[in-house]
Amino acid sequence: MQQAIGIRSIDDLFSPIPAEYRLTRDLAVPRQMAESEIVDWFKQRAKENGEGYASFLGAGAYAHYRPVVIDALVQRGEFLTSYTPYQAEFAQGTLQAIFEFQTMISELTGMDLANASMYDGSTAAAEAVMMAVRVTGKNSAIVARNLHPEYREVLTTYATHQEIPLKTVGFADSGRIDLKELENAVGDDTACVLIQSPNFFGTIEDVEAIADVAHKRGALVIVSIAEAVSLGIVEPPRSADIVAMEAQSFGVPLGFGGPYCGVLATKDKFVRQMPGRLAGQTVDKNGKRGFVLTLATREQHIRREKATSNICTNQALVALMVNIFMTVYGKVGLRELAKQNLAKAAYAVDQFSQHAKVLFAGAPRFNEFVVQTSEDPRAIHSRLLEHKIVGGFPLKKFYPELGHAALWCCTELTTRSMIDKAIDLAVGPGAESDGSIQNVKAVEAEEVAR
């Protein structure tokens, strides 16, 4: 090949790089490893990473069963190793799958349409706010304090330079957004009210009541959904204008926080302000049905600085996992799955209530709940770890006003015996007899949970 090109050595090809910037030494990275060594190295890391622990963590990332057909199908090279389907004739598989994904997300969220995916639930929420600003021509946003704290942080990052002032509205004794406070907060310059349902405490919001307040003043309602499985049994937020979802619960591995699958769904009339890719149906020269990426004039590769968003790469393969999960469970299975989640959490709430205070009893919840204890939950968390149980998520960092509180989650994978054992060790008789009780100071130093 060098001969064909007419060069004497490979270095000739790098002559455009000025000599003083050419690297003349080896990179100081680990030496080349054999496949068997690579596998061993990562298996070792896995062992140091909570392998074999039972977990009660939710808080935006949920442990649900992943049907094996998901990985069997997404590992087909034609899905795994293809690019964004710009050349439609050669990418109909991906395009039709996106079209089906958009359809199912629309059905589940009660919206008219959905896009092909966003990075995750947090950026979906931030992009939804920017979309609402474009739609309404107003420029401030109201955010519920019981929206996932990290989603709020992301929104703050995005909003700052868009010059979108953010106002936070607190929650009432029910754990739901404080409607009175909301009413006072919404003004004529409010582009949108962003809430989460089920919210960060697992409580289901009364979206209709919130929409009444917001719509009266011409503001849009954005509902963030972090626990997608709830849609199997909880009425979708039909009175919302935009749904900003995290679909990780639908067949996506926890994977230490990513990659996940954000998605935006909205009403027909807002489609031209929607960010992200969209697949649409059309026909070919012979009238045969086919699919293409469409409405690209919203996007950066056409509009550059005037685009609705800078997003390009999305989460396509993860959206395919979500797609297959929704297809597997379907119309009946999703409801049954959600019902099991509801039952497990209800059981755990009952059991906890015998030893501790479960907060926010005044409103319905899905599969998460907040437990208040006399002992610091970080100490409880640490004690449970000794028994290979990862307890609830301590809330002190984000919600100090709740005192000694932690957010617990039960899914269809949480067994009754796990629940019983965890409660016994956390707040029951097992808590006192356990020798591994540590003082809180030591625990704090240890940073058991963030």
Partner: protein, 500 residues
């Protein structure tokens, strides 16, 4: 088609038809099974009241074999790297090693919860730390965040840091300079961060016009975003002069790392004056494109920008264990929940391990060699608008063929019939009718020869029968789709017949 132009790479094959999943649905079919409930049954109406959902609308009901066949049939309608060369310029469609997929699915890594305690997260943290160290060595930079979910979010993160840096010095400045050859994400990102965009002309060699830059650079400019090698596949030879010009007036140099596959192991942006850059793990570091994502866009910076990196940062604690640091007062904040596309970190690190220093260098050499082999093979047949030396990709134009009315997109569609994915069409914008070709290091000479043969054959077809090329593709299951109709009256979801 004349028999002369029979393609060696592709042939016809029986291809299954397949409707939408909703069209196969009927009540009673199911592919799921839940274990018996081990806690008391609940009455949703009682627990949820009016919030209970009773109907899931048009969600499908299908059996497992139907699901397997459905998605398998759909998959066969896609082209993929696994089927052959995928020469999309600037997309770096290289082989996606299967060991990456295997290790990403190891129990413990795949199932780690982002909020599990640090003491049972040491494995994940070690992966993040090791990858960070490797990427810093490869780029020659000082500090890094792995948080951004893709290249465009990396750009966002980088420009947020640029802005925070200038603000910390009392003036955020007003605009970002962007060469006219840049990716569309660059200007879109600048706008998201609240900066005005000012275009920078390329010179007749396809590089940043240094004199123009000198004239445009002033104290209102926060940064220049440069892709190097640029989208023509040309190394910006005066990169250090460019950096000096920026720095003299207090500006910063941002490098879009989309084309880093031309540099790894051969040159380091940190050595030639770059202050902040993003990498695309899904390009340079072999994580799969997956039909459009997920990506991962780490951002590496020089010391002066490190206080502004997003939270949390991975740190080594006094006791030697790893942890997350949240208390970073000058940070730009968070750009997404949790820590980034962790699954992609695993894959990228496995790729680095599989290559080592020698392999990484050879990868770059092979990528540049392959691009130049194609350039040599097609020079004279397709117009080469810039004769400047090519690095990892080469840009031709349709100047010759368009005289017959055949444009770059038509040539691309015909290439599909030959069993190749098209190159990138009509980009960069500074080349009218661009054909942007990036073979990557993954292609053996035999595949490159087939590609060159196909491109030559298409050029002949343009001379003999341009209409035949204009009507391409001929061998796909559908012909060219009506994109105008799709956009004019969008149908973005399926609805049952009779409902609108």
């Amino acid at each position: 088609m004349t028999t002369k132009h029979i393609t060696r790479k592709a042939t016809h094959h029986v291809n299954q038809n397949e409707g939408l999943i909703f069209e196969k649905s009927s009540p009673g079919k199911a592919a799921w099974k839940l274990p018996p409930l081990d806690v008391p049954e609940v009455d949703p109406a009682k627990l949820l009241g009016k919030q209970e959902r009773k109907d899931l609308g048009n969600m499908p009901e299908v059996s497992e074999i139907e699901i397997i066949r459905h998605f398998t049939r759909l998959s066969t309608w896609n082209y993929a790297i696994d089927l052959g060369m995928y020469p999309l310029g600037s997309c770096t469609m290289k082989y996606n090693p299967r060991v990456n997929e295997f290790v990403a699915r190891v129990e413990g890594l795949a199932n780690g919860h982002p909020y599990q305690a640090e003491k049972i997260s040491q494995g994940a943290l070690q992966i993040m730390k090791t990858l960070s160290d490797c990427l810093l060595e490869i780029t020659g930079m000082d500090a890094i965040t792995l948080q951004p979910a893709a290249g465009a979010q990396g750009e966002l993160t980088g420009l947020l840091m640029v802005r925070a840096y200038h603000e910390s010095r009392g003036n955020a400045r007003k605009k970002i300079l962007i060469p006219d050859s840049a990716h569309g994400t660059n200007p879109a990102t600048a706008a998201t961060v609240g900066y005005a965009v000012e275009n920078l002309k390329s010179n007749d060699r396809g590089m940043v016009d240094v004199a123009a830059l000198a004239a445009q650079m002033n104290e209102d400019v926060a940064a220049l975003m440069v892709t190097n090698p640029n989208t023509l596949g040309v190394f910006e030879q005066e990169i250090h002069k460019i950096a000096d010009l920026m720095h003299e007036k207090g500006g910063l140099l941002y490098m879009d790392g989309a084309n880093m596959n031309a540099l790894v192991g051969k040159a380091r942006p940190g050595d030639f004056g770059v202050d902040v850059m993003h990498l695309n793990l899904h390009k340079t570091f072999s994580t799969p494109h997956g039909g459009g994502g997920p990506g991962s866009g780490p951002v590496a910076v020089k010391k002066i920008l490190s206080p502004f990196l997003p939270t949390p940062a991975v740190i080594t604690k006094p006791d030697g264990t790893l942890g997350f640091e949240y208390n970073r007062p000058q940070s730009v904040g968070r750009v997404r929940a949790f820590y980034g596309n962790f699954g992609m970190f695993i894959r990228a690190l496995a790729y680095i391990f599989a290559n080592g220093p020698d392999g990484l260098r050879q990868t770059t050499e092979d990528a540049v060699l392959n691009a130049n082999y194609i350039r040599k093979g097609l020079e004279g047949i397709y117009d080469l608008p810039y004769s400047t030396p090519s690095m990892h990709e080469v840009v031709f134009s349709d100047k010759v063929q368009s005289k017959k009315g055949v444009k770059t997109m038509d040539l691309a569609k015909r290439l599909i019939d030959y069993g190749f994915h098209p190159y990138t069409t009509a980009f960069p914008l500074i080349v009218a009718g661009a054909l942007m070709i990036e073979p990557t290091e993954s292609e053996p000479k035999e595949e490159l020869d087939l590609f060159i043969e196909a491109m030559k054959s298409i050029a002949e077809e343009v001379e003999e029968d341009p209409q035949f090329v204009l009507d391409a593709p001929h061998n796909t299951r559908i012909s060219r789709l009506d994109e105008t109709a799709a956009a004019r009256k969008p149908v973005l979801r399926w609805k049952p017949e009779g409902k609108s």
